[in-house]
Symmetry: C2
Subunit: 308 residues, 2 copies
């Protein structure tokens, strides 16, 4: 069977940790080339930048953009304008305006665009969706706590303006919740704790409500000793669903239904392959919109300086 | 001729200063009722809240929502669900999620929804649009400076989380710029000066770029002695356009083309009347999205406390 030929831009930590093995494990898609000014991959055609890669490899079908966030918009525009399908690592853009622009551009070019919220592909999510589809949610509680020193060592950018702080992992929880709760929810209040030497929050407490008044409460915290706590509890009119370990473990009414090793990026690439076959896009901006709303509406309180 | 019957929710300062006279001056629309828990209007049916007004006045065609921002979403939902057209004072919502929800709801109900960016109806704007339509913009510079003590006396809410600070007037400039520049622009950097006793910026410098690299630079400042400076300069490939006094004065290549007294809210209601006749919506979220992007991406610097 013929494979979709993938070019990947930005060969950083997440690509080496996750993307390469996931691409290799996904039938139907093959890594044909990479582009990075500072990095090459042995055995794969390596280019300094996307333009050079596109010029040299005219038969690429799709481009995965895994660069730092602020570079993604310009690169994605270039790839879409050259007729390529595009996958964006999360978050899909540095700003909402950029992300909405890519969505509009993909529609205009009838191109495939995929905003890859990897946490949506955790092992328990699909079953959770099915179970929830016949029930009415009455409350959602999210606890997303991890030790920033363990999970983001040396990532100073996370504390700079636009780096999102605790929303960098928190947006993963929001990407799951926006997929599992079938009606939209709206931020009513947000408390943000910002270290006095940082631009972005180290902790956030968010209170959302659906139009019907169902509470969706989230507690994100970077000041948590390992192991991490990536948990979500969804109360319904007919039972309680819990996701633990970021969605690897699904517990329904106290019974463990799924408990599997994490393999989110295989799910990401399998879904991208389906989108490529169907010629469809999947570009949900809601998780990033919630983070922007939290920064717009949130009450900031200065807390102790963060020293890694 | 028969008039559209308008109900107005939230009888505050902006309604008494602007809306009432504008409605009276607009043929085709008439104020039939108001709703406000604390305020009545002599000679107009007055209700305590929107639900009471809708129950008692089933023939209302349209609802203008002029309450504090955080109440608008729920009220607009109620009005749309009861089959009414809705006009929203600026900004159209407290969060982007709420505003996107209203847009989707109006589409679903095939209802008229109007996000009233009043500055777009300043006397010089329409002519500026026509002049720009045959030219290519090469640079935009915005200076929006005013004395907060003169223009927002006693408005403590402006300094609280979600109150937007200098973006409360600055969003007016963004509403003009997003209408006059035909291609979208994207925030690349933002410097926010936040008084050490406040949650929101007293000054902001924003650097946007279009996809083609055209700069759109904005400088908002609340620490400005009267008179205000609400100016915008648009350089093009064939001449320079300047808007002064918030758009009341239009100068093209050094020649004053329009210099008229401010009458923005008459323009707002005339446009709402056109939308009602045509059964169309006008709900542009871009100005609020830019403010959220600035809060998401902006670098904050603490400055001197603000004491009114």
């Amino acid at each position: 069977m013929s494979e979709f030929r993938l070019g990947l831009v930005g060969v950083g930590k997440i690509v080496r940790d996750q993307h390469l093995a996931a691409i290799q494990a996904t039938p139907g898609i093959g890594l044909a080339a990479v582009a990075d000014p500072f990095s090459e991959l042995a055995g794969i055609a390596s280019y300094k930048d996307l333009a050079a890669m596109l010029d040299a490899e005219p038969t690429l079908d799709a481009i995965a953009i895994c660069t730092p966030t602020h570079l993604r918009h310009e690169l994605a525009r270039l790839a879409l304008e050259r007729g390529k399908a595009v996958m964006l690592e999360k978050p899909p853009g540095a700003t909402l305006a950029e992300t909405e622009d890519l969505k509009a551009l993909a529609e205009e070019h009838d191109a495939v665009l995929f905003a890859a919220w990897h946490s949506r592909f955790a092992p328990g999510i699909s079953h959770a969706r099915d179970w929830l589809s016949s029930r009415t949610v009455t409350a959602v509680t999210i606890d997303w706590h991890e030790d920033v020193r363990v999970w983001h060592p040396g990532q100073d950018w996370i504390w700079e303006a636009g780096g999102m702080g605790v929303f960098d992992p928190g947006i993963n929880a929001l990407s799951i919740a926006t997929q599992l709760v079938s009606t939209p929810f709206f931020l009513k209040h947000a408390d943000l704790e910002v270290p006095e030497n940082c631009q972005t929050p180290i902790a956030a407490r968010l209170g959302f409500r659906t139009a019907a008044g169902i509470p969706v409460d989230a507690d994100f915290d970077f000041r948590h000793q390992d192991p991490p706590r990536w948990d979500m509890r969804i109360d319904t009119d007919a039972g309680v669903l819990k996701l633990e370990s970021g969605g690897s473990r699904l517990i329904i009414d106290g019974e463990v239904v799924i408990d599997e090793p994490e393999r989110e990026y295989q799910g990401v690439y399998a879904h991208f392959c389906e989108l490529l076959k169907a010629g469809e896009s999947d570009i949900d901006i809601a998780p990033l919109r919630h983070v922007a709303d939290a920064m717009l509406l949130g009450h900031r309180r200065a807390v102790e300086a963060f020293i890694e």
